[in-house]
């Protein structure tokens, strides 16, 4: 299948130290890829290079066949590359309904409208209700975000990202910091993601990785050392070496 998202020979160095070294990656619609790697492997830098918050030294990022390396972060979002944040970055004084409505309006190019209120726009409210309903947030849609539980805030992060109708979704540790009792809800939301969406999930929690991903990419010292099926990842000698046993006990999960 034609790749929807492609990274070719991406390089970036900070003061001589190659943080991202010749990384190439390709994803097709519907892919579920997990990006893992030990601390300091360069995952954050990689995400920033992909989203356009950092400029690569060389290499290119392609989105739906178009080279977006020279396009800024906002332009990439508008072309369908959307990310969620590891630490929830929501607008605490605003409601879930407002969050999703803002994303819907932004996507349709209506966020600059000076009149009307989304509460009175049936098409927007339909979509807001549907999205929040799917994630079990419908009852809370008019509460302030600062008043809802952290697990629900994580779900709202996903809702906002989905409302932008992305082609490629970068999920940065979607379950980070969520109490054990609530992770099921988030895993369900991940399982329910649109089938044609390409998802790249950056995750530490190997259990989640093995349940979610059809493919695992391992980043270590700025380079991709493994790109293959989840069942092979823990058997790979280079991966084992990179982790130096820190995730050795994860092998029983495979």
């Amino acid at each position: 299948m034609q790749p929807i998202f492609e990274v070719r020979n991406l390089k970036r160095a900070f003061g001589g130290l190659a943080v991202t070294n010749d990384v190439s990656l390709s994803m097709a619609p519907g892919d579920r890829v997990a990006l893992i790697g030990p601390n300091g492997a360069g995952k954050t830098t990689f995400v920033n290079l992909v989203t356009g918050n950092l400029t690569p030294g060389s290499g290119e990022v392609r989105l739906g066949g178009e080279t977006v390396t020279g396009i800024d972060a906002i332009g990439r979002v508008r072309r369908g590359l959307v990310r969620s944040f590891q630490v929830t970055r929501l607008f605490l004084e605003m409601t879930p309904a407002e969050h999703v409505a803002l994303a819907v309006l932004q996507r349709d190019g209506r966020s600059g409208r000076l009149f009307g209120n989304f509460l009175a726009m049936p098409d927007v409210m339909d979509e807001v209700g549907q999205l929040l309903g799917k994630l079990g947030l419908r009852e809370l849609m008019h509460r302030k975000v600062s008043e809802i539980a952290y697990g629900q805030q994580r779900l709202l992060e996903i809702a906002v990202a989905l409302a932008l109708k992305p082609k490629v979704l970068l999920l940065d540790e979607p379950a980070a910091g969520v109490p054990q009792s609530d992770t099921g809800r988030i895993e369900q939301a991940l399982a329910d993601l649109p089938a044609d969406l390409a998802v790249l999930m950056i995750e530490h929690d190997m259990d989640l990785v093995f349940r979610f991903a059809k493919r695992v990419v391992v980043l270590a010292a700025g380079a991709i050392i493994f790109d293959g099926s989840p069942s092979d990842v823990t058997r790979d000698p280079r991966v084992r070496e990179a982790y130096l046993g820190s995730y050795a006990n994860a092998s029983h999960a495979a």
Partner: protein
């Protein structure tokens, strides 16, 4: 606690932000206050008109500071631009129709807003604040030096607005000016209520909380803030033009740092991020000023300073914000 119990607990929350009713009440309150003012101070309509003009400036400041989180000490630049534009077209070009003067004031305010926004939004934090102060001084110096246009430190005189709509002369008592001002305030207030609750208003509130997050949703915070600055400039321009038309003179003080700082004080006194807060702050402050500064202008500055410190320490949400909080807590307790 698991999510399901939380859901049940707050399940029946009613829809917040019902629209329509509160707007009509707000407009009704403004009109009622205007009528009361008219009969209570028939000999002081000039003061009331000035309060309206300043209220427009404070509303305009609320748009960028309260709704977008831009701290500025140079907002009088937009007000002064409107005042001088309305004054200059009348004094130098013989355009005396008040509506036309108003239009020039709005346009000049919007242009000044564009200019100030383009400069101020280049930086953040302290440099942003310094830019805003430097800008208002720059505007002030410019108006001072361009005295053939502005009258310099003597002020711009020779403004002679003709009858409003060809029917109502601007009388000595200031009745026409007052009614004109009230109508403008009501119109602007209604428009701003629409804008504040529109998708664009929502976008601005989100930018105030986290501009980085907004970028990752594909919206440009800077473009939105520039747009808000232009709107804010137009509103301040209405206030400036109203001031020029009603007093028929424009002084350098309308482009001063003190005016900028005072408008910020009024906004904070009433409560940022709320149009009613902006109005409340202006009315309280202006009446206070009228009483105290008549006694001694130097004590006045001390009083403003003390007032400001007191608001920061004891009512950080401002008079209106604190009252509204109190009421909503009372309602929730029931």
């Amino acid at each position: 606690m698991s999510m399901t119990t939380t859901n049940e607990m707050i399940g029946q929350t009613p829809v917040r932000r019902r629209f329509g009713a509160s707007d009509l009440i707000g407009l009704g309150v403004i009109v009622a206050l205007a009528i009361v003012g008219y009969f209570l101070f028939p000999n002081n309509l000039a003061l009331l008109t000035r309060i309206i003009a300043i209220a427009l400036l404070v509303l305009s400041l609320d748009l960028v500071t309260g709704y977008c989180g831009v701290a500025t000490l140079g907002h009088a630049a937009l007000f002064g631009a409107g005042a001088y534009a309305a004054g200059i077209v009348s004094a130098h070009y013989g355009i005396n129709d008040p509506i036309a003067m108003l239009a020039f004031g709005i346009a000049a305010g919007a242009v000044a807003g564009l200019l100030c926004g383009a400069v101020i939004l280049r930086a953040h934090g302290l440099p942003q604040l310094v830019l805003s102060i430097a800008l208002i001084h720059l505007f002030h110096e410019f108006a001072n030096k361009a005295s053939s246009w502005t009258g310099g430190s003597d002020g711009l005189s020779g403004i002679a607005p003709s009858a409003l709509l060809g029917l109502y002369e601007f009388d000595l008592w200031g009745r026409t000016a007052y009614v004109f001002g009230v109508v403008l305030l009501v119109l602007v207030f209604a428009i701003l209520r629409l804008i504040v609750r529109s998708p664009f208003g929502m976008l601005c509130r989100a930018i105030k909380e986290d501009p980085v997050r907004i970028r990752s949703m594909g919206a440009s915070p800077k473009a939105a803030l520039m747009k808000m600055y232009v709107i804010s400039g137009a509103v301040a321009g209405v206030g400036g033009a109203l001031n020029a038309i009603s007093t028929q003179v424009v002084g350098l003080d309308s482009l001063s740092f003190t005016m900028s700082a005072e408008s910020l004080v009024m906004l904070v006194l009433g409560g940022t991020g709320s149009l009613f807060g902006a109005l409340t702050g202006t009315i309280v402050f202006m009446f206070f000023e009228d009483v105290v500064s008549a006694a001694n202008p130097f004590h006045w500055l001390t009083m403003v300073g003390a007032l400001l410190i007191a608001v920061v320490l004891f009512a950080p949400k401002g008079l209106y914000g604190t009252a509204a909080d109190f009421l909503s807590r009372r309602r929730e307790a029931k």
